[in-house]
Symmetry: C2
């Protein structure tokens, strides 16, 4: 993704992160128990007096109150609400709006085609556009963090047609069933948001994200191929015609992919000034769709081809005529009580998927290099996501959630850069997200819908290829495998040396094997009857990542598997904030805590026994020094909570696109 | 071409070249008159005494004797003949043989298809293979310089089908007519070889070579497209089937081009150790042809396609059944006297084409970085080329000539490299060229011919695309245009700075415009009835390059338009050697000449008037200093002949692939 273009090295300078265990040892072990907690607590009993004191201090902070996260989020964001609209008066808003609209629209219609084909036309362009509009308007206007673009994603498309296939034998109403899934999902969303379980997000590392990214991009390519295969044997009855359309579609998709990918990657080439290069890359996909949709009308032998186009239906009305009343968007139909409870596990799976997909999207839209100044809002936004999900259920459309890479691209398009392409500030406002949602609604009007209906399916296939290949080139698993096969001479001469060269070969290979195993499992399952379980594999990969400290050294994990979230962004996910009854501590208080942390750590370093095999004992003193320059909130405090010998030290990290 | 991989900078270190006017002012002005001679001879009369002495010394040297060049070539190479065979006992010979065979075979069959289609089947695979075999065996065994691979080239294919189209209305026998063209060509070849006119080669700069290279590679791509278009409307009468075959062929050609080009360029990527990368690149084309020929049999919808294959005919017999007796290779048929003289201008055009194409191929196969130690042989080889041409005329096959890039690739495959990829030596021998010729003959046997007959025409189209794109990426005109559009920031940070940045923008643009005009003229003419004239455009571009000193400064021309030939390689083309009645001078004699040259130049520097506008007067003293390290023969001597104020100084050069 073009995101990689921005100098990532800046990331390594100032941000500090908790690794998995930080400041949670103090809280309820039943909920947050870590595999290492038992051993550590034993080894620390000798330092009883210190622990006693610390425990006493934080006794009342161990369980965050119900809804505390949402409360904190609202406290943070509400004061900015009016300003968010006022800040929309900025030049950057217009180009950002155009770019975001196309970035959102094009993959959406590709998914529309896919869902149309695989749910017997239950969903079409109208549904996808309405879902994107719903997401954009609600999240633009009402979300805590209005920068996160939501819409219809690849995984949600897979989820929907898999549910469709599964419940077909049940002879229940599909839209009624989907409504119940969404309602269950709302309930779980609300439970998770109010019990502050979104805080668990801070333990998600890049490992599952990379697997997810690889999976999604391979699925994109697979979808492109599936669309092309469908061109061979649809439409008319005559056999030959279809073969012509099949091969001609492959030609269009291939040529479009070649040109689209070339121009998409244009910013990597040395030609033209940087701004122009970036411009060409940014609009490559949109212009590719435009040009190659026109191309099929160029005449010659193309006239002999019976191309199939994106199917459109009556403007502002549902696509499906089966299972729902095509005159209204209220899709709910009664289903049996048994089916309602069959929908429950699907609701859980949907919640897991959204928990992961939406929150990671949101995190990526708030990466530290974007220099955002307004606070984040994970708890409240997740609750809001539950609401949009059930609204989508009522309307009989796929529920929107956070989009990668559209969400981070949106933030990027709002950056104000200086002459040397350094970020000056980001235009944080609610206009772009809301209005791109409204534009989606506008796209549902007849004239624009007819335009969309002129897009050949071959072009959608090419669109999938471009998205997939683009994503693969940025995937960390792929890049590491490529790095592994890089000429040792070239590796040795790299400046600066790739951090991966510090990892032992054995560790490197084991880690890659884990990643590939995760991907293969994920991809394999979507091609079986159990496809619906793919978010569970995702969850499994998160769980697997918790045993990594047993296999890899701390230094290796810092390189191979850094956490996704960054301190500043996830402030309201941290227990010390969630459990604090008061407002965030003053600077004086922090300083005192820091001193006690220093004392504690120096005591530990002389008495504690080492429990971790590979990781050398690292007192938090040098970390504290680093932190003073980190610009993160309540760092000293968190240190006071985490001075254990085998804690994973806080490290600077880099978020990888997934 | 992969040639560019080797470090070209070595070229800039030691080789010294004459620029256009060197050591010719002394010789017959009628033959070699240069535009600048008149002014210079006038301006130099004041130095009469020195000139008198120089003139006296070289009086008898002004016109080289008939056949002197051939004599010198034979004197140089004959003593090596037995050694050339003995030197074949070397490990490098086997991989080189395999690589050269495939490098030669694959484009040859692509041209076979092209000529087959455009001459009503007068030529086929058999003719092309026989021509390649003839060239390989004769040049391997009998040429002075056995490293230059000869075979059927793109231009000769164009020449043949254009002649075919032109003489169709004459109702004369095509093979008889071609025989006469070849016979006329032989006569002109012999005239040029014996009158030492091959020496003119030293005035050819890279300008026409680059135009020729651009032209040829664009024609390759054009041919690939033409083959694909033909897939739409050949074979069966049913209309639809052809469209299927057309689009399916495009698919095969496109996918093959993508993979073939990717692997061909693999050596540029950082992956795998250098040797492996190079290996993959070297065999990419051959393996692409193999794989994609098999691909069409993979089944599925490909079974619905009626692919067309490379047409083959009876082994060891001529393809054509019209205009020649298909039982014998003696193709000559009597034609009218009028037609014999109509063939004459075609013979001249063929000679011009071969003069340029063959000699430049030969030069490129002997570039200085290959560190050849055995002498070159341009005069004799050109005479030999005349002989093979007429033999081809008798057999009714297209005459072979020097191949780019096969000839330089052949030399490269014979290099012995040290661990750091520096050239240690080149295995200069006669085995590889001769035996690859014999292998071509072996390829004409039935089983192998049937294998060739399995190659779909779509794959040949892909082959043309790969060759064409590959050639374009190495073309100097294209690279300069790309450089022009390169981000100024990147250009400024290049280390070392591209020499082009020293050229004034105006000069740069004018030069590029000349190049493009030449290409457009060349390409346009081949698409008209006057296609046959394309070698004349080539000749015109050589002539145009003679006015460049009036437009560009000397420094600019050294960068924009260096001579193709290098001193050591073209020793027998230099007049001081051609006109010297004795054997090459001893070292003592050279030293004396050098001293007199130094005296002469210092005298000139104080008295001569500047006649050249832009080029500052440059005494040859520093040049002489450079030359002592150049390792070239009789350098000082040539300087003694060329100490004129407005001579184009000798510069180090780089040969560009064309």
């Amino acid at each position: 993704m073009p995101l990689e273009d921005t100098n990532n090295s800046s990331l390594h300078s100032g941000q500090l992160m908790h690794r998995r265990t930080p400041n949670l040892e103090e809280s309820t072990p039943t909920l947050y128990a870590d595999i290492e907690n038992d051993t550590t607590s034993k080894s620390l009993t000798s330092n009883g007096n210190i622990q006693q004191r610390t425990k006493k201090r934080h006794w009342r902070h161990r369980i965050p109150r119900l809804g505390k996260g949402i409360y904190l989020d609202l406290c943070d964001r509400l004061p900015y609400y009016v300003q968010d609209w006022k800040d929309s008066w900025d030049y950057r808003v217009i180009p950002s709006l155009i770019e975001t609209y196309f970035n959102n629209l094009l993959p959406a219609i590709a998914f529309a085609q896919d869902m149309f084909d695989r749910t017997d036309n239950s969903y079409g362009v109208n549904e996808i556009l309405l879902s994107s509009a719903l997401g954009g308007i609600i999240f633009g206007a009402l979300a805590g963090q209005p920068l996160c673009i939501v819409g219809v994603t690849g995984p949600i498309a897979i989820f929907h047609y898999t549910v469709y296939e599964i419940i077909k034998p049940l002879h229940t109403n599909y839209f009624g069933f989907m409504f119940w899934i969404d309602l269950w999902a709302l309930i779980f969303h609300l439970i998770m948001a109010f019990t502050n379980m979104v805080a668990l997000l801070q333990y998600v590392t890049t490992f599952p994200c990379d697997i997810f990214g690889l999976f999604i991009n391979v699925v994109y390519i697979q979808k492109g191929i599936q669309i092309l295969i469908r061109q061979f044997h649809k439409t008319s009855s005559e056999n030959n015609d279809n073969v012509v359309s099949g091969f001609a579609s492959i030609v269009v998709a291939l040529v479009m992919t070649i040109f689209g990918f070339f121009f998409k990657q244009f910013y990597r080439l040395p030609f033209l000034p940087h701004k122009w290069r970036k411009f060409i890359s940014d609009y490559a996909t949109a212009l590719s769709v435009l040009f190659w949709s026109g191309f099929v009308h160029f005449g010659g032998y193309l006239n002999n081809v019976d191309f199939q186009y994106l199917p459109i239906s009556k403007s502002y009305f549902p696509t499906s005529k089966i299972g729902r009343d095509p005159k209204t968007w209220l899709a709910y139909a009664e289903i049996s009580t048994k089916d309602i409870f069959i929908a429950l596990p699907f609701g859980i799976i949907l919640t897991i998927l959204f928990y992961f997909d939406h929150n990671v999207s949101s995190l990526m839209a708030q990466r530290s290099q974007y220099k955002l100044t307004k606070p984040s809002s994970f708890h409240y936004d997740f609750a809001l996501l539950g609401v949009t999900t059930v609204v989508a259920g009522v309307l009989g459309i796929p529920p929107p959630n956070g989009l990668i890479p559209q969400a981070p691209l949106h933030t990027e398009s709002l950056l104000v850069l200086d002459r040397d392409n350094n970020v000056v500030r980001c235009v944080e406002q609610r206009f772009t997200n809301t209005v791109q949602g409204l534009l989606m609604l506008g796209t549902m009007t007849r004239p624009l819908l007819v335009c969309l209906g002129q897009i050949p399916q071959a072009v959608l296939s090419g669109l999938f290829f471009i998205m997939g290949i683009q994503g693969l080139t940025d995937n960390e698993i792929i890049n590491r495998i490529l790095w592994f096969f890089t000429d040792p001479v070239i590796k040795a001469n790299e400046k600066p040396l790739n951090p991966l060269s510090k990892v032992r070969l054995r560790s490197f290979l084991i880690f890659i094997a884990f990643g590939l195993a995760g991907f293969v499992g994920e991809f394999a399952i979507t091609n079986t009857i159990a496809a619906i379980g793919f978010p569970l594999i995702l969850l499994l990969s998160v769980i697997v990542s918790f045993i990594f400290p047993k296999i890899f050294t701390r230094e290796e994990l810092e390189i191979l598997d850094p956490p996704v979230a960054q301190k500043f962004t996830i402030k309201n996910l941290l227990l010390e904030n969630l459990c604090n009854e008061n407002e965030p501590s003053t600077e004086e208080e922090e300083e005192i805590t820091m001193i006690s942390a220093l004392q504690a750590s120096s005591l530990f370093s002389s008495t504690a026994t080492r429990t971790d095999n590979d990781s050398s004992f690292d007192s938090s003193v040098p970390d504290n020094n680093d932190m003073t320059s980190a610009g993160s909130l309540s760092i000293a405090k968190s240190n006071a909570n985490t001075t254990y010998p085998n804690k994973k030290t806080e490290t600077s990290i880099n978020i990888h696109n997934s």
